[in-house]
Amino acid sequence: MIREKETTLYLGPQHPGITGNMMVKLKVQGDTVVSATTHVGYLHRAFEKLIERRNWLNAFTLLCRFCVPEPDPMELTYARAVEELDNREVPERAKYIRVIVMELARLQSFLLWYAGQAGSGGLYTMGQWSVGDRNYILDLFEDLTGGRIYHMYIWPGGVRRDLPEGWTDKVLRTMDYLEGRQKDYNQLMFDNTVFQKRAKGVGIVPKEKAVEWGLVGPPLRGTGIKSDVRIDEPYEIYDKLDFVVPTFEGGDVWARAMVRQEEFRQSISIIRQAIEKMPKGDYYNKVPNPMKWIVPKGQAWAKTESVRGEIGFYVASNGTNKPYRVHAKGAAYSHGVTILEKVLPGQNIADVSFIMNSLGVCPPEIER
């Protein structure tokens, strides 16, 4: 047997598969990865430091930029941590609106993920379709908040505005459309032999190590472990809704894709239920003077289920009008560094970005 020479290959920082810049330094033999090291630092924007210089509500302009495909879970998690410190009740209607916004955010992020996952597997048409469909959800967000990507809509105490007239009908129509599109997506991606052959048996995370390694969200459910913040620690009104948390055995890219495929349907169902059950009433428990608002001393930890897994915020207040410390931890923090470094050895170079996408690596969230 001829032993091939080991070569160092730098993948990134401009990256074909994921949102944002990150470099993976690969040691390869032939086209097989021997070892991988993650290098971040291309997107550090010192958000956590900047938030310490702003007041409690100004922080929102920075928070939603932590991770581009998923701004809303960041807002909600921070808002919930601040509400816990301030003992602030959220009106029932606001809770329903928050859930609808969160699930819409989940859907748009799934559609973006379809594009990345299929694209890094060579199926480019999928990306054209799903990103096109994602625009319909962004239109809904524009109607609701004025912004397409970044919304700054969820605030401590509720949401900033009530739903515009006729908005829920638009949402329902969009949901019908997206549900109808499922069969096209399946044909193009999930039932496609090319995708199946690329995805099965690739990037396996062992089930017995998954929780310990810090795997969360769909990748964790793809190993067969049923874990979701929405059922483990129900927030807002998730405990009043009827939905299934799908799991799939295998721990590979295919299992993670199947989990996401089912979750897409569940999100549509959650939105329909929330719209049906939503009560009338207040949408905002008003903060006295937003610019001079003082949050009592204390520390709080809140976590939310985002598309890629749990997002947690640790917020500390020293009893002034500015946050003393805000620390965010997203799924990518463990997925993108330690887990990726463990999963990549033994894989083909061509599968690296495929696996990164499937784990939901989002570099801006790692370094913030």
Partner: protein, 191 residues
């Protein structure tokens, strides 16, 4: 109101063997305070004996008035579904903390970030010194005594024409010699 039996039991299970203090914060939240030598034993005990196998989060808070760094380790049990916060305070001068990446591998990432952002040393920590920053020569930037404003003024320069940080409308008026349109006047900054 739940009676927090699960949380009380956890608190006793953690505090009794180590003779440390703690409290139940609320439903699903328990915190314990210990000194820096005990932290790794508490974490290892919680992981192996009590089933708190998920390291959800690690953070550092710079309490500059007390001259202390507070380290918070958040761990979670998939069975009990309770968060346990293990908190400790260490000196701000020459801060050093035991690394726990032999208990959880992903702790390595948090510790590398803390080493860079707060200057806390973790003897024996694997990985390169630079995490998100490159060739950083100032004091660690997340410390409270790092002056971001001062740093920005010394490091960066204003765009030509914006040295005085003047309202952009006024600059345009000066350059073009025309009046500010009526609709824009009401937005002009009051001086």
């Amino acid at each position: 109101m739940t009676d927090l039996i699960k949380e009380q039991k956890l608190l006793e299970n953690v505090t009794n063997p180590f003779k440390i203090k703690g409290r139940v914060i609320r439903n699903r939240r328990v915190e314990v305070f210990c000194d820096k030598e005990t932290v790794s034993s508490v974490l290892l005990y919680a992981k192996t004996q009590l089933g708190y196998i998920h390291l959800a989060h690690m953070t550092c808070i710079d309490w500059i008035d007390e001259n202390k760094f507070e380290l918070v380790y958040t761990i979670w049990s998939p069975v009990e579904k309770v968060h346990l916060f293990v908190k400790t305070k260490i000196d701000r001068e020459n801060p050093e903390m035991e690394n726990i990446d032999r208990i959880w591998d992903q702790a390595n990432t948090y510790e590398r970030e803390m080493r860079e952002m707060f200057g806390i040393e973790f003897p024996g920590l694997k990985g390169e010194r630079d995490f998100a920053l490159e060739d950083w020569e100032e004091i660690p930037p997340m410390r409270k005594d790092f002056d971001t404003h001062n740093y920005a003024q010394q490091t960066y320069f204003n765009r030509p024409g914006r040295e005085d940080a003047k309202d952009v409308r006024e600059t345009l008026v000066e350059r073009s010699g025309t009046e500010v349109p009526d609709f824009a006047k009401k937005y002009s900054r009051e001086r």
